[in-house]
């Protein structure tokens, strides 16, 4: 069967199973991969299905451990205490609150290059504050989601650029300025677009009335130890290489979760772990399914067909191709999009300043985190605010996402001009 027919068959099987038969997305993806393999004459290809799912092994572990971390914060009462502290600090000014919140949301992503880490570590702290200040729940989810994506792109760590740079021998140096140039305006505009209209200015009395119960009087600074552990292991290896061990992001979340056992009110850690596994299971299954889907796409030549179809667009459609294909492929894997499409596009734009090109492409690619079926950031943000349907959050991400897309394409188009200043 020709590659394109295999691809259409896989998509069709997925749509039928996921939409019509209401199968869980992860299982629908796995079965559509299996159908593709069978149709292409590759048989069951067990090895490929398992190998493909392992492409997301680390991400799956991050999700699991970060979910555990959130559960520990909630169970120990630390989350409420931190929410109370943030409310007390920022309740007076809408703009200041929104900007401070955006910075806090972005921070873990800036250090780790992972939107997932940002959303799952900062999101649970920020979401209750914003909702208590009047921001609707879905908009809160959108804010958390966009904060995570911008954090992933912001310097100092942008893994998307590292991946693209690796493919064209561009060292990861000199990117701070171009990245700040594109990210700072977005980091200011995005929270204002999402939250300024709905956020209420409240007085001290009202603030005190909505303040959740804090355990600070009982436990003092012990409450913040999990965050110190988190920050220590996230930042330490970069600041003191060789001295502070790099235990990987899943290890960092596990260490911070274990610290949480001793820093707030007591709880059953085993039970909390079970809850975390239960909650994280659907998204872990989706990632495993996406991995299988990509592996079978590659195995059957459908990936090559897809990439070549995009690259075959006439040159005047190149920017349109970038704007559509990079986020679209990100719907399967954002890092995959950076590697599979980002590198060829970097090469296509090789006559422009590579620092500007890669910054712009990473800004566009980051939007893939919003695109189904994976829609990683959308799903996690939904998980943070307890919303079962992540599509409802994506609706509120649309305008900031279009701004981000325009900024990325704008930077690509204006690269020759910007080159003189940056």
């Amino acid at each position: 069967m020709p590659e394109h027919l295999v691809f259409f068959l896989m998509v069709a099987v997925f749509v039928v199973l996921a939409m019509a038969a209401k199968f869980p997305i992860g299982i629908a993806l796995a079965l559509s991969a299996l159908a593709g393999s069978l149709a292409a004459g590759q048989g069951l290809s067990l090895r490929h299905l398992i190998e493909g799912s392992f492409g997301y092994f680390d991400t799956i572990l991050i999700i699991l451990t970060a979910t555990l971390f959130i559960k520990v914060l909630k169970a120990s009462g630390i989350l409420d205490s931190v929410t109370a502290l943030l409310l007390k600090t920022f309740y007076k000014s809408r703009v200041m609150l929104l900007l401070a919140v955006m910075l806090i949301l972005m921070f873990p992503g800036m250090l780790t290059g992972s939107s997932t880490a940002a959303i799952l570590s900062s999101g649970p702290l920020i979401a209750p504050v914003m909702m208590k200040m009047g921001l609707p729940r879905l908009k809160t989810g959108a804010l958390v989601c966009m904060g995570g994506i911008l954090g992933m792109i912001a310097p100092p760590v942008n893994i998307l650029i590292m991946i693209m740079g690796g493919g064209v021998d561009m060292p990861y140096v000199g990117l701070t300025l171009p990245l700040l140039f594109i990210i700072v305006p977005l980091a200011v505009l995005t929270p204002l677009v999402i939250g300024y209209k709905d956020l209420r200015v409240i007085g001290r009395d009202e603030m005190l009335a909505i303040l959740p119960q804090t355990l600070f009087p009982k436990y003092g600074f012990r409450l913040y130890i999990p965050f110190f552990v988190l920050a220590f292991f996230m930042v330490g290896p970069g600041l003191f290489p060789g001295t502070v061990p790099d235990i990987g992001i899943p290890g960092v979340f596990v260490a911070a979760s274990l610290a949480g056992i001793f820093c707030g009110r007591s709880f059953n850690f085993f039970r909390v772990t079970q809850k975390a596994v239960e909650e994280a299971m659907p998204i872990m299954a989706i990632l495993a399914g996406v991995g299988m889907f990509i592996q079978v796409m590659t195995l059957t030549g459908a990936r090559g067909w897809t990439v070549m179809s995009i690259l075959s667009l006439p040159s005047f459609l190149l920017y349109l191709g970038i704007a559509l294909s990079m986020p679209a492929f990100g719907g399967v894997s954002t890092f995959g999009s950076a590697s599979i499409l980002g590198i060829p596009f970097m090469l296509a734009l090789i006559n422009k300043n590579a620092l500007l090109t890669s910054s712009a492409l990473s800004t566009i690619t980051g939007l893939g985190d919003l695109v189904p079926p994976a829609a990683i950031s959308g799903r996690f943000a939904a998980q943070v605010i307890g919303e079962p349907h992540f599509f409802k959050i994506l609706r509120h991400c649309l305008l900031p996402a279009l701004l981000q897309l325009a900024a990325g394409i704008g930077m690509l188009l204006l690269a020759p001009l910007l080159d003189k200043f940056i």
Partner: protein, 377 residues
């Protein structure tokens, strides 16, 4: 999303299904841990392990065989590395061809065919590659493993979020498992850094004069059909270039960028003063535009998507319908090795390495790899 309600029966079913899948896929994965046989020719002087230069590597999955050839006369000392990236098969096959054929007249030659031994024990997820490729010989097919660019995560895990390599360059975390980003290595580092350190120890202790690292790159990658050279080897590389071009191969020079750190062509030269060269040939099977991955894609190198990409001007090498077969890629490497040895002799006669019985590149192209490979077991 539909919630599936389970019961004991469904749990038992899925448990058994999982066990079955694990058994069959696990058996397939484990088969890659068995190295393919290499049959050294009579010219071999000694075979040792890389850990003999760095004992901490002993009994680890990073340890790998070093094939040593010594000539009758003293001369220069050359190191050839294949399999730094186990998904670039021309490096491994060129090294095997040399090991199974050459006789050294003068000087010393050290060949490491599987530089990242751990990388040969797994495949890259989501690349859909075959685990092995088959090279036809007159007595049957020789099977070689097609591994991964990176060390097996079973042997080195987890990846850091950001990898700061021993040369101080910041890279994405997975590059911590890329041998050609880990030079000059760390004696107390991770497994890949230890392998890099051991290679540096080999270079230092054996007083290597010239190091050659054999690679392949995707046809859409700009550094291709190239001799990448450290600035201390510019004259050597330029001489070799003329020689290779005179043999009819299209090839160009690429200077090793001073700010791209951790690569063999940079750190071997900077840290051990050795002349450092990296050779690249075009390989569609690890490109992003490839069609259906298969043994024949690797060996015959025909790919309709690359042919189309070539027509559209997306590639840095011409890619016709005839493809770029493994025999041509290996022949290019052989021509490169021959030319570099000849250039070393021309520039520093006292360091010359004279090597006989190298499979002639044009015969390799004409007859294929089979006649120059030992028959399969």
């Amino acid at each position: 999303m539909k919630e599936i309600k389970g019961n004991k029966l469904s749990a038992a079913f899925f448990f058994l299904l999982t066990l079955t899948v694990c058994f069959f896929s696990g058996r397939s994965f484990l088969s890659l841990h068995q190295p393919e046989a290499i049959f050294p020719g009579p010219g071999l002087t000694e075979q040792k392990m890389l850990s003999s230069y760095f004992p901490a590597l002993k009994n680890t999955p990073g340890d790998t065989a070093v094939y040593f050839f010594r000539g009758k006369e003293e001369g220069g000392r050359v190191l050839i590395l294949g399999g730094t990236h186990p998904n670039e098969p021309a490096g491994l096959v060129t090294a095997v061809l040399l090991i199974e054929n050459i006789r050294l007249e003068r000087g010393s030659l050290f060949i490491v065919p599987r530089a990242n031994a751990s990388g040969f024990s797994h495949s890259d997820p989501q690349e859909g590659n075959p685990q092995r490729f088959a090279v036809p010989t007159p007595s049957g097919q020789r099977l070689f493993r097609l591994g991964s660019r990176l060390t097996n995560p079973v042997h080195q895990w987890p990846d850091p979020a950001i990898y700061v390599n021993p040369a101080g360059q910041k890279l994405s975390g997975m590059e911590a498992r890329n041998l050609n980003r880990c030079y000059p290595g760390r004696a107390k580092g991770n497994l890949t850094e230890k392998v890099a350190w051991a290679v540096m120890e080999l270079i230092r202790r054996e007083n290597i004069d010239l190091g050659i690292d054999l690679h392949e790159s995707a046809p859409e990658y700009p550094v291709i059909n190239a001799i990448v050279f450290h600035e201390n080897s510019s004259e050597l590389a330029a001489l070799a270039l003329m020689d290779i071009q005179a043999q009819g191969f299209d090839i160009r020079l690429e200077a090793s960028p001073a700010n791209l750190r951790g690569l063999s062509h940079r750190e071997w030269g900077d840290h051990a003063g050795v002349k450092a060269i990296l050779l690249e040939t075009p390989n569609a099977s690890h490109g992003r535009l490839k069609g259906k991955p298969s043994s024949s894609l690797i060996v015959e190198g025909k790919d309709k998507f690359y042919t189309r990409a070539s027509r559209l001007g997306w590639l840095f090498v011409p890619y016709g319908e005839e493809g770029i077969p493994l025999s041509l890629r290996v022949a290019r490497h052989l021509a490169g090795v021959e030319a570099l040895l000849a250039s070393l002799e021309a520039l520093e006669p006292e360091k010359s390495v004279i090597c006989g019985n190298i499979p002639p590149p044009h015969q390799v192209i004409e007859k294929g790899l089979g006649p120059f490979l030992h028959p399969p077991d």
